[in-house]
């Protein structure tokens, strides 16, 4: 993106570029970029390569599922402000992980039960939402499942929930220009509790 707010195929002045290129996320299911020899963006920022929270489990059998995070309509960012609002909390009370029905069937997970989602960096417990909306990818001939969690929960309020923050799972890697964190794609495992 340029200073004028427009995108451009030729983008000088960016840490990477000037031409667009496909890289895999820092932590993904692939060990090799099928498009080129360079697996990940070489210009990204990694906060601290040696800390526990910056461990990476790329193409690991221990963490086989792609995870993405997002916000629900009812809460804002971490939900630290909106979860105190009774109407919003009533509509969206607890953390959940959306799991495709095929993966849920494989794992024997029923809709509405509590599960543990873990990455190499940490784990959270939340309610499983089994859905047909998450469909598996077919990548390099392999079926890869994806799960998704909202990042609106964890800590402080309401006091009686065991919800943890989704940030315990995600890597703290920032994009090469603005340090915008890569929370849309990383790897996790899901287990029954």
């Amino acid at each position: 993106m340029q200073k004028d707010g427009m995108g451009a195929l030729f983008g000088p002045g960016m840490a990477e570029g000037p031409f667009p290129e496909h890289y895999e996320p820092l932590e993904g299911p692939l060990a090799k970029n099928p498009m080129s020899g360079q697996l990940i963006n070489p210009a990204i920022h990694i906060f601290d390569k040696h800390s526990d929270v910056d461990k990476i489990a790329r193409a690991s059998e221990k963490f086989p599922y792609v995870c993405t995070t997002y916000s629900c309509t009812e809460h804002w960012c971490s939900g630290a402000l909106t979860r105190w609002q009774a109407w919003l909390l009533e509509a969206m009370p607890e953390a959940y992980v959306e799991i495709g029905d095929l993966l849920a069937r494989d794992l024997g997970i029923r809709n509405g039960v509590r599960v543990k989602v873990s990455s190499i960096r940490g784990s959270v417990q939340c309610v499983a939402m089994v859905t047909k909306r998450f469909k598996p990818f077919l990548i390099e001939g392999k079926t890869i499942h994806q799960v998704g969690l909202p990042f609106n929960y964890g800590w402080l309020f309401p006091k009686d929930t065991k919800d943890d923050s989704t940030n315990l799972l995600s890597p703290s890697v920032g994009d090469a220009n603005t340090f915008c964190p890569e929370y849309k794609a990383f790897m996790v495992n899901v287990t029954k509790l």
Binding site: T73, A91, V127, K132
Partner: protein, 265 residues
């Protein structure tokens, strides 16, 4: 003052399930938010409640061709012309308003719950705490002041609109014509026509908790249209009969001594 008959149109094909309407309804009607649980659905509270008069129902649907759709339906009172709830309400708490909608005067409600089993759409909800029932009144107070219902006001996608009855029915059919496929208008063909209409994305039978062909329960017609007048008729008939008996045949008196064996009068 003469007011136009109003119809609220819910175009499910435009709804994004933001649930702004669900929250706006609570805000305007000062209904509390209660603690809920995540039960594996975006639909929460899981059903209409005394403090939740409208609710987006979320439903995952795969049609016979294998195509997937996430269906959203804003549930709530349909404001029937032949409203079963008004028919059974003993206190007049539920009543037809000048807009053709079905209002609820809470102060009159005696908590008998007759409307709960009467409603073909399963709408009224009972609160143990106040011993009263609750339901959408189509924001009667706002309509009276020429304001849009809170849910309509808040809807950002144009899924909710309100207007004169005929114009809204026309609008609904025009929309269905434009969309084609299985879309259809729901509401104008039964219980005398509802004052809440749907443009449904799929056939009515596809939707959870949506009766395909709702009607005022037959038992209520027997009860209110037949037995109720019959009660007065029968009692009146007996009273009239007794009176005639008394003046024509006369009461049954003990026989005078001596005439005893003859029997008779």
């Amino acid at each position: 003052m003469k007011r136009p008959e109003l119809v609220k149109l819910i175009d499910t094909t435009l709804c994004s399930a933001c649930r702004g309407c669900q929250v706006a309804c609570k805000q305007w009607n000062e209904m509390p938010g209660l603690r809920t649980k995540q039960i594996g659905s975006y639909q929460n509270p899981p059903d209409l409640q005394w403090n939740t008069w409208t609710l987006i129902r979320f439903q995952e649907y795969v049609n016979d061709k294998g195509a997937f759709k996430w269906l959203f339906r804003k549930d709530g009172c349909m404001h029937c012309t032949d409203a079963a709830c008004v028919k059974v309400c003993p206190s007049g708490a539920l009543h037809h308003t000048e807009f053709g909608t079905v209002g609820l005067n809470s102060s009159r409600c005696i908590g008998c719950k007759e409307c709960v089993s009467a409603c073909p759409f399963d709408i009224p909800r009972y609160s143990q705490e106040t011993d009263k029932i609750y339901k959408c009144d189509l924001c009667y107070d706002r309509l009276r002041n020429d304001a849009l219902p809170a849910c309509v006001k808040t809807c950002g996608t144009g899924a909710l609109t309100i207007g004169g009855k005929d114009a809204m029915i026309k609008k609904a059919y025009a929309r269905v014509k434009e969309l084609g496929g299985d879309t259809n208008v729901y509401g104008d063909k039964f219980v005398g026509g509802t004052h809440v209409l749907y443009v449904l994305d799929e056939k009515a039978k596809v939707y959870d908790n949506l009766p395909r062909d709702p009607s005022v329960p037959f038992s209520i017609i027997v009860w209110k249209d037949m037995l109720k007048p019959l009660a007065l008729l029968a009692a009146g008939g007996v009273l009239a009969g007794s009176f005639l008996h008394y003046i024509l045949h006369g009461p049954k008196l003990p026989d005078e001594p001596g005439k005893e064996e003859k029997g008779g009068e």
